[in-house]
Point group: C2
Chain length 415, copies 2
């Protein structure tokens, strides 16, 4: 059983009001897959003509639903999204593929589309068979009852032990119409009894072919969902899907034929902004976190090198525990830079915490003042800046601290 | 201030009796570098003709003493080893190189050798200047008072917050004489206030040129010190040095001219055995550990792939916390295999805990019995076996669990 977790200190006071996305309707119900007394099955019904793009986990042991989505993305048309929580349907062998197929076929039948137009995700325990028969019969009712305003319910149904639902919305004026982008996510955090899985679903009524949608999603993920880390572990089920119903075209919004066009860049900017917000929400519900941490790396040999250095710092248990202890232990940052494998020159390296320089040119900064920096470390949001002094490469990575609560959440749940 | 740490459950009941290594004498004293009321400066005096081999950290931000040793290894002759604890002399800029030089020159003067024949290490806090003047004047006394039986004292002087001294000894019959190999280490564990550093010093009276010594040390380190991990963080100061005084030649031991000769293999086997013992001791004093964990990987595409998969499992916070919680959560092992980046086929993957098969051919094993496996997980030593089912590559990696004590040790010390 999952333990009751302390709510993240970064949980929002209220959820955002979500406008409808014409062409998309949602529904959720309690199927009793694992969690008693809460919703755990969700469907989004999409109008004909909806294109879909996706970014999926690179895990070599990915789940059956991820494999299913990978197939579906080859065609790039979507009519239904089905997500269950409570069971990840991962490492479940041929039975797992079978459960994915049963789910998709039931949803396709309810919707009157082909199974290839159904996208599915599962999140929860790994290695236990998912009995699709337990909930496949509910899909017909879900598809029929789907409504344009059920965003909060949908976001809640995909939570495992996230401590708050994660939703964001944007509106972009394009041509004669306002185009809407809505997204929701479940976090890489508090996911007992198994592992951190990130699921993100984004919906827009903008009209564009799959190739453009995919280019925008991949570019956006690169600097948002691919730049966050809770504990360096990669889920078998990470999934980001972006659906475009195209309904805004009927209201006068231009079709976006090219990501590099003016319209394309306008939309991509709003999309990136929404993805950034959701990605940070995922970090801010990280397992057991007490502090939100931004790692800004510059002066590296390349952007890729800067990102790898950022992740080496963000994933270092010694850096993360120091932050949890409000300890400005920049020696551990030096260590993490050194182990990243990327080019670094000790005598050019500079480090700052917030606006305060702590190390400069390979030595403690002359202006270093323990008291100032100790006070800064008491804050809830910490920014560590690292300048390699070598080149123009830069990257930002977001993470959280490593606390006693992380251990409790992940070590103690079977007791 | 370092907090008093609970002694590792794996601490030995008594330290091994260490025979003399002809040609090597040791001394330790309290220089007051950081720790009050304990020894923190150690010297080993070596007879003329001693050859030395070394394996040093690959960190790009390595400490000044590591840079000094790297230079010295180019000549491969050693007359003194000096180690201080309490300050790592890392990320201390030009002042750091200066402190290393002052230390080496003082030791060289006391010994009547060149500074290039002095090897030094420092361990402790990073980024704070090391004032060599505080202890350089003590080196003359240390060199003069060195004795052939001061092994325990030397091993204690290099501890930071290790909870026990780590020593091992071997004896090999070679020709007409018994050759001795003595080694001691400080652990990658309990090192507050900074980071896990592994220092290992091995001494033998066997006679061999540096090239042979280096080949044997590198080969041995590959499957011992390079196959252990506490928390995935790499120190700026990791150092393994092997000194051969050659004194056994006078007693009739053959000179070893080739690592692949019968004598060479005999010696290398004993050396590897001693390195294995010391490496496991380092893990068994890992920060806050409650369990010692062996990860055995086979069936990988290559030995290198097997090792990287082993480390992905051993470094996974989710795997480590599950073990701390006595939770046979093999789903997290699947996840770690998947994120390693190495070839894996979900449907060929098998996993066992101890002798019990838990997953086979990509699915939960038919014989899986939660009760048996839960009982196994209560033990203090856990072995996880992973068979990729792809090739002949294999590797073994050793680690420990991730506990509340790790967080306390690393997050709380400044409070």
């Amino acid at each position: 059983m999952a333990k009751a977790a302390r709510v993240s200190p970064f949980a929002p006071e209220r959820l955002p009001e979500m406008p409808p996305v014409p062409g998309a309707r949602l529904a959720a119900c309690a199927a009793g897959i694992r969690y008693p007394g809460r919703t755990d099955l969700m469907a989004v019904v999409l109008d004909e003509g909806t294109t879909v793009a996706g970014v999926l986990t690179r895990s070599k042991t990915c789940s059956a639903p991820v494999l299913w989505c990978r197939e579906g993305l080859k065609h790039g048309k979507a009519r239904v999204l089905v997500v269950n929580s409570g069971n990840a349907n991962a490492f479940t062998g041929k039975k797992g593929s079978e459960a994915a197929r049963i789910t998709a076929e039931a949803a396709a039948k309810a919707r009157g589309c082909s199974p290839g137009e159904v996208f599915i995700s599962s999140t929860g325990v790994i290695g236990e068979p998912l009995d699709a028969a337990k909930f496949a019969h509910l899909l017909d009712g879900l598809v029929r009852s789907a409504k344009s305003d059920a965003w909060h319910a949908a976001a809640r149904a995909i939570m495992t032990t996230d401590t708050f639902p994660k939703l964001a919305t944007r509106r972009v004026r394009m041509g004669a119409a306002d185009v809407v982008i809505n997204g929701f996510a479940k976090g890489a955090g508090m996911i007992a009894p198994d592992l951190a899985t990130m699921l993100v679903y984004i919906f827009t009524d903008a009209a564009m072919p799959q190739s453009v949608l995919q280019a925008m999603l991949a570019a956006g993920a690169d600097t948002t969902f691919n730049c966050i880390t809770i504990d360096s572990d990669t889920s078998t089920s990470d999934t980001v899907l972006l659906f475009a119903t195209g309904a805004a075209a009927a209201r006068g919004a231009p079709r976006i034929a090219d990501a590099a066009s003016a319209d394309g860049r306008l939309f991509a900017t709003a999309l990136h902004d929404l993805m950034h917000e959701l990605a940070l929400m995922v970090v801010k519900d990280g397992e057991g976190l007490s502090k939100f941490v931004t790692i800004e790396v510059c002066g590296a040999e390349s952007d890729g090198a800067a990102r790898r250095i950022g992740f080496a710092i963000a994933n270092s248990p010694l850096v993360k525990t120091a932050i949890a202890g409000a300890d400005p232990n920049w020696g551990r940052v030096v260590m993490a830079v050194g182990k990243s494998g990327e080019a670094a020159d000790r005598d050019r390296l500079s480090i700052r915490y917030g606006g305060v320089q702590v190390a400069k040119d390979g030595d403690r900064a002359a202006t270093y003042d323990e008291k100032t920096i100790a006070q800064y470390m008491q804050g809830r949001e910490i920014t560590i800046g690292v300048d390699l002094g070598l080149g123009a490469g830069k990257a930002t990575v977001w993470t959280c601290d490593l606390t006693h609560d992380y251990i409790s959440i992940n070590a103690d749940y079977r007791s």
